[in-house]
């Protein structure tokens, strides 16, 4: 019974995120009359949008479902896939129901896409959301606050509700709750990965960037309770791995399933970081805008897109491996992804120093063949199991 319900939840999540026409967003707009604003990976402060009555909608590329017809005329072959599928979605009219797009500052490709959006969709809001790489409150904090205020003003100009502190507090509470559930699911997967297959968690997280937060909370909570109670989910002899590098362009679901089938338990990953970017609940007592700023400055995840300052690169990855009780790392980055691939040698140096086994491969969101990766991951998993038994 519960297995059926779990399946239902996961299927509905997969259906939601694979629906390129964004039917659920259209329905929400019809019902509420609110604005819907798309956002690209990795992170935007969705609380702010929600507080102004705006639906934040995660746009994570076109995956393996979208045929690229026009997008290739916009991008050279040596640029990753996500911008071409995103522009394809825009030009194909699938994003028409969005009133705008936010482009977080994570790399030059997303950055430049923000300008392309201005050309192609001049009637829509297109905003590059710059984030500080200085993490002091008086410099980076002030700058980030001014970016958030500019975003607030832009949304108001488009007809969103005026900014209101109380409303933002309420929104922060909701996103704190969602973040908490996602973190709980990650903790449960670390403890009992057979309870939370990554392919399922992925679908739910992905859909949770599209569903209204209230709905996402209900569904993810139900899923959490169901898998906890599901006695049919039992451990298998799989290698525990952390998967790193897939923070922007997402791998096709088939790739995640392939990795799991090849003998890996993914016990931590970089997928859909928006829910977990701020690693703890934000403060709801003081100034809520400050809370967003402080969360970004002090409690954000380490990421290749974030300046590491005096810290040693890869230390955080080693900690994640240890916390997750993982036995190895799969570097799984999109082809041509500057942040991930420039970071990788530094991260590799740290994990090698810590004696952690690793392997690496690249993908594109529209990959359809996983045979080579399956063999590579399978061999890696086998070698881990072999050595862990010694």
């Amino acid at each position: 019974m519960s297995a059926n319900r779990i399946l239902e939840l996961v299927e509905s999540a997969e259906e939601t995120y694979r629906d390129m026409s964004l039917a659920s967003v259209k329905a929400w707009k019809e019902k509420t009359g609110g604005l819907a604003i798309g956002f690209m990976p990795i992170y935007v402060p969705r609380e702010l949008l929600h507080a102004q009555g705006v639906l934040p909608v995660g746009i994570m590329g076109g995956g393996d479902d979208l045929e690229i017809i026009r997008g290739d005329a916009y991008y050279q072959s040596y640029i990753c896939h996500i911008p071409r599928s995103t522009i394809e979605l825009g030009l194909g009219g699938q994003l028409d129901c969005l009133d705008g797009m936010l482009f977080p500052a994570i790399c030059d490709v997303i950055r430049n896409l923000s300008g392309m959006w201005k050309f192609e969709f001049p009637e829509k809001l297109s905003r590059y959301l710059d984030v500080p790489q200085d993490f002091t409150p008086e410099m980076g904090g002030e700058f980030y606050k001014s970016e958030l205020l500019a975003l607030i003003a832009d949304l108001e100009k488009r007809g969103a509700r005026p900014y209101d502190k109380e409303a933002l507090r309420a929104s922060i509470r909701l996103f704190n709750e969602l973040g908490g559930i996602v973190r709980d699911l990650y903790a449960l997967r670390r403890a009992s990965p057979w309870k939370v297959p990554t392919a399922e968690l992925y679908c739910l997280q992905r859909a949770a960037t599209i569903w209204p937060v209230e709905e996402a909370i209900t569904i993810l909570r139900e899923y959490h309770e169901l898998v906890l109670a599901d006695e049919t989910r039992t451990p298998m002899d799989q290698a525990r791995v952390v998967l790193a590098g897939s923070f922007c362009e997402q791998p096709p679901l088939g790739l995640i399933k392939t990795l799991e089938r090849s003998g890996c338990y993914i016990v931590d990953d970089d997928f859909i970081q928006v829910h977990r970017w701020i690693t703890r609940s934000l403060d709801v007592e003081g100034d809520p805008l400050e809370a967003l700023v402080n969360g970004f400055l002090f409690d954000a995840m380490a990421s290749p897109t974030r300046y590491c300052g005096d810290k040693t690169k890869g230390t955080e990855l080693v900690t994640r491996v240890e916390t997750a009780g993982a036995e190895g790392v799969l570097f799984c980055a999109p082809s041509f992804c500057d942040p991930a691939l420039l970071d990788q040698p530094m991260a590799v140096a740290s994990i090698e120093k810590a004696g952690i086994p690793w392997t690496a491969f690249r993908y594109s969101e529209n990959n359809g063949q996983f045979q080579v990766i399956r063999e590579q991951a399978g061999t890696f998993a086998d070698s881990i199991k072999l050595w862990s038994g010694v």
């Binding site: 005329a73 790399c107 030059d108 490709v109 201005k118 192609e120 410099m139 001014s146 690169k313 690249r362």
Partner: protein, 427 residues
């Protein structure tokens, strides 16, 4: 070398060579003389500030492109890739890593000193941040970072300027003080900036001389030599002022005499095509690439690449009366820190003001900062101006991505396209 002599026959070019050679000699001697060095980047460089503390700038991008021109980049890149650096990422970074492995020998054949400070000027390119994170692992020295926000909305806001100024005051100057053991001297900085502005005036006059017919300069291939001193270690120095004055005099004289640009084949006799070029050049086959233009009588009258280290032709000047603010505005205004609509506006303006026959994009595999969006920019400029737009692909310092025959074919077709557009009438 003999080819080079043909090109570098003007006094200004000889002077530039001496300036650069002296700088590298000083760097090579630094371990003995006790002079200290700061590694930093071209876009958003704070040369005046670095020199305010009598520190010597080292620019890894320049080392990389010099390595390519000396035919070294292939082995350097291969060494970095063997170490696990991806074939997909910027080859400047890999060339730099490989150069370090090979002993950090600079363009004059002497070893460069290790940095006393890594000053990450993070302007207009995300890769810079990763590059310095990589360098930080290589060297045991402090690192300080100036984060320059992107002009996403096409303007410099007060908060952006303040953010940069605050960082200069609170992080960069203290880090330079610590590295040098010297105190910051604001009066000296004002003097330096006054000199910067003087040299900038002359540089703009040189670049704008290309509005003449024939153009006395090639503003892309020749342009990279003209920007050399001001984009690297010399902005704010008396040497730069002298160099740019001399250069401008020479160029104005060429205008007076109605001369075309000096090319690898000597002076260009007939100017057949006037082009605006977007994107950096290829360095591994620089001369071969240039000759594909000059042999056809194609002269580049304006280029975006000569604005990566500072956009001066829209009126910006370093300002001694607003020293830190103008340094911030300089960083914020570099070409790759402009959003795509501003870049398109710039290229459109160049096509019109320089009466160009076309826009050519040299799309660089390494460089997402430049390349992502160029296909759309090209169409947009074409639509607005009606000039034919062409597209070639190469790389900065990785010879594997320079296909001479392919590029030559494309250029020939492109030049034919321009001629057809003129209705078969040749200039």
């Amino acid at each position: 070398m003999s080819e080079e002599k043909q090109v570098f026959k003007d006094d200004s070019q000889l002077r530039q060579k001496t300036m650069i050679a002296d700088h590298y000699s000083r760097l090579a001697a630094a371990p003995d003389t006790g002079e200290k060095s700061v590694y930093t980047f071209v876009p958003g460089n704070l040369t005046e500030l670095i020199r305010n503390f009598d520190l010597l700038p080292v620019l890894p991008e320049i080392n990389a492109l010099q390595s390519a021109m000396r035919g070294k980049s292939k082995e350097y890149i291969a060494a970095a890739e063997r170490e696990g650096h991806s074939e997909d990422v910027c080859t400047y970074v890999k060339c730099d890593v490989g150069m370090k492995r090979a002993g950090n020998v600079g363009p004059t054949g002497e070893r460069l000193p290790d940095p006393d400070l890594l000053l990450l000027s993070y302007t207009g390119c995300f890769t810079f941040m990763k590059w310095f994170e990589i360098l930080k692992q290589e060297y045991d020295c402090p690192v300080t970072m100036l984060h320059v926000p992107y002009q996403g909305e096409g303007e410099i806001t007060d908060s952006m300027r303040k953010y940069v100024v605050d960082q200069i005051k609170q992080k960069i100057i203290p880090a330079l003080e610590k590295a040098s053991g010297k105190k910051f001297d604001i009066d000296k900085l004002r003097e330096q900036l006054r000199r910067s502005a003087q040299a900038e005036d002359d540089l703009v006059a040189v670049l704008e001389s290309a509005k003449n017919r024939p153009s006395p300069i090639d503003a892309y291939f020749g342009g990279v030599y003209y920007i050399g001193p001001i984009f690297t270690a010399f902005r704010g120095t008396e040497q730069a002022v002298d160099y740019y004055r001399l250069l401008n005099q020479e160029i104005q004289e060429r205008v007076r005499l109605g001369k075309g640009p000096v090319t690898p084949d000597g002076e260009m006799k007939e100017e057949r095509f006037r082009l605006v070029v977007e994107g950096p050049p290829n360095w591994t086959n620089f001369r071969e690439f240039w000759k594909m233009f000059s042999e056809e009588g194609a002269v580049c009258v304006a280029s975006s690449y000569t604005k990566v280290g500072g956009v001066y032709d829209t009126g910006f000047r370093h300002d001694p009366d607003r020293p830190l603010e103008s340094l911030a505005e300089y960083c914020l205004g570099c070409y790759t820190n402009l959003n795509l609509p501003s870049r398109v506006d710039t290229l459109e303006r160049y096509v019109r003001e320089y009466q160009a026959d076309g826009l050519l994009v040299n799309s660089i595999k390494s460089c997402n900062s430049f390349s992502a969006g160029q296909l759309m920019m090209l169409r947009e400029v074409g639509d607005r101006t009606g000039v034919p737009c062409g597209f070639v692909e190469s790389d900065l310092v990785d010879p594997r991505y320079f296909s001479g025959s392919n590029i030559k074919n494309r250029l020939e077709s492109y030049f034919q396209m321009i001629e057809q557009k003129r209705g078969g009438v040749q200039v």
